[in-house]
Subunit: 170 residues, 2 copies
């Protein structure tokens, strides 16, 4: 019989989750995220766009007046990657940029009505998907879901989550 490797089962701390539970969590995250993001893909394809466009439209919609660098910080991609999708969104009239009067280097972005329509079209299926899961699981489960997911977010970025109840400034 070989010795148990230290990470196989950390029975030392009885409060520590079992290895099993952690695997289970990782699988849940994988499958749930896969199916959640899959909802918008069909719509996106009709507009010749990809997930990057969706993410940009979503976060500009949720953070009206956001600057380019703030959006970069949220998406954690490079300027070039963002610029490609941003260019098409601006060219096709989904997003507009305006120079910040306070700091004229900054370009503040917001959705046009056309952009808001797109955002709602994309989000509707995902919303329905989440709404069903929320309803099926019940309010207590939802609270737990939120707590765990919030804990999975790097501390430095937790403030970026828009809290429910906070009026969207759009």
């Amino acid at each position: 019989m070989d010795e148990q490797a230290p990470w196989v089962q950390q029975q030392a701390d009885p409060l520590a989750p079992r290895d099993d539970d952690l695997r289970h969590a990782m699988e849940l995250l994988f499958f749930a995220y896969r199916d959640f993001t899959g909802e918008a893909d069909a719509v996106l394809a009709d507009y010749d766009m990809g997930r990057a466009h969706h993410r940009a439209v979503y976060f500009i919609g949720a953070n009206t007046g956001i600057s380019v660098s703030e959006l970069l910080a949220i998406l954690k991609i490079t300027k070039q990657s963002l610029n490609r999708v941003l260019s098409t969104l601006i060219d096709e009239g989904y997003v507009v940029q305006e120079t910040d009067d306070g700091d004229r280097r900054r370009r503040l972005m917001h959705l046009t009505p056309k952009g808001r329509d797109l955002e709602q079209l994309l989000t509707r299926r995902q919303s329905a998907h989440v709404a069903r899961a929320y309803r099926d699981a019940g309010p207590d489960a939802v609270e737990g879901f939120r707590r765990v997911l919030f804990g999975l977010i790097n501390e430095a970025d937790r403030h970026r989550v828009t809290l429910p109840g906070a009026a969207a400034h759009g």
Copy 2:
């Protein structure tokens, strides 16, 4: 004042989650998944591999003796996409394939010891990440997290989630 569009707030059903809550859920999923997957990326880069390799290694490890088509069904990618990563994993000795004696068309896959080491190396950081979130949130929250995420998975694929407690057949 313009009329409320029907999807803005479905107050008709008091049990239905508010629009706010659904947005919040989508943001939590985005940030949490982003940071969760980010954990393994640094390690992966050292091995000249990407997330696709990680996913393949993970699911072969969790489902010893899995066939190529079963793995395709889990990952929901095309045969060609899988083949690229599978070829390198086999060439470099992380994964082996054996012909199924019962049906000699099938190739059953499992990890080599080297593959299992890699899988554990990759999973260790993510495990620690999840373990911390689990511990911080507490057991009731974990139960809720599981219920909601499970509900987010397409019904047809829920059976693919390895339940905790079920001994890994490896």
